[in-house]
Symmetry: C2
Subunit: 280 residues, 2 copies
Amino acid sequence: MAASRRFPTDHIAPGELMPDSPPPLTSADPVRRLSAAEEARTLVANSTVATLATLSGDGHPWGSLVTYGALRDGSPVLCVSVLAEHGRNLLDDPRASLVITTADTPEDPLAAGRVTLAGRATQPTGDLEHEARDAHVKAHPAAAVYAGFGDFSIWVLEVQRVRWVGGYGRMDSADAAAYRGAEADPVAPQAAYAIAHLNADHADALLVMGQELGGYPDATRARCTAADRYGLDLRLDTPRGRSSARVGFAETVTAPDGLRSATVELARRARAAAGEAAAG
Amino acid sequence: MAASRRFPTDHIAPGELMPDSPPPLTSADPVRRLSAAEEARTLVANSTVATLATLSGDGHPWGSLVTYGALRDGSPVLCVSVLAEHGRNLLDDPRASLVITTADTPEDPLAAGRVTLAGRATQPTGDLEHEARDAHVKAHPAAAVYAGFGDFSIWVLEVQRVRWVGGYGRMDSADAAAYRGAEADPVAPQAAYAIAHLNADHADALLVMGQELGGYPDATRARCTAADRYGLDLRLDTPRGRSSARVGFAETVTAPDGLRSATVELARRARAAAGEAAAG
């Protein structure tokens, strides 16, 4: 992929990744996407393993595997030992980054979603210490045994800067306030199953969505490539070549089990539009 | 797991992880293990994805996902764009670390093998540049398209320091010379299959190995938990409790397909010892 040639700027939508792909033939409403902050919160909420970057005594960057939980505002909680190099590093210099990668690993690793959270690690006290410890142990139950030992400490990463990469050509930054204020996409844990189900059993509905709502009335085949609380990404085959479109739900999905009904409504709306077109 | 309490020092063998486990009843020959350098080379040889830690302009540690190939001496080869933060970071300060994790992810992420390679990134020239580029593209074919663009550069990480963690209580360091001089375990890609096969179809042979060569004549059940070019790790049930043992191959395995014959020889030797014991 001619990656850098195509995305000198940030956050190009998938359709723009294919410069030779045919344009839509009819106008399609713009459909909201998860923001970088929402993408970041979603990645953080759906994993418990990360790579921590800290500074060794001589200022050399040091990477290491860690487990984490998260506070309600998305701040990651670590439990590290001073016997480990990263534990000593944090005591000397609290600057750190955390890299979290999606669990759904595509064939090309660079097509995977990932996020870097950069900030300062602090040792919480009082109620916050208890809350942070609970969040860590919930995410990594094995920590219940060792979290209380003297050489282990609970650390909260106070996120200052967020860099999200969604794969080739999808990337954006977010500031601390946007990150803390964003919500993880509630449908993310169900998305892979829903996509497989839609492609296996509802290819006809996806095609009508692409034709009627996605701007490609000449589409001959559609596949769902992504699903989130705001809508679906479709890959479309047309006689003019392959393209992509995004179709949006009538209302933002707010609960994990809301993806199915939102998709049903979307299919119904697309079929109604097709009926109107036929009647007109 | 009472992790830190049990391993204040490095590189404790699995048996020592269970302080209450029953000791062997007969003497067993010590069996060679992969060194930290060999473990590191094995992890590096069996993945193409890593997390890179670099220094941002203000000295903040920055983590990011990268793909890599490796030169014959194990030096990782990256292909990064100056449009990416890590690419700009390397131009400003070549100090970097690379974290590589095993593809066989256990249920507890902290039981996974991983390695940190710390060193300096350099831009190779001449023949080395070609060799490095080929190594990267071999590992990540998609790079063939973008590796030639002006904003992408090939970097070789000159490894200065290696920290390997094999899971709870198994960890050790290696210096640059040991890392470069070590060989990746040739049987690693076959190990998971071999372990499953031994446990499914050859539990009897594993038990005799544990009884006759592992020091546990009272073992009643054996499972293989790891296999490498030097031998097998066994988990043993005895009337005295659960323990573990390591049994060694007669000769170091030097080719990927050598694991099977080495294991057959090991089983034959264990059965011969059992026959002698019965005859005696």
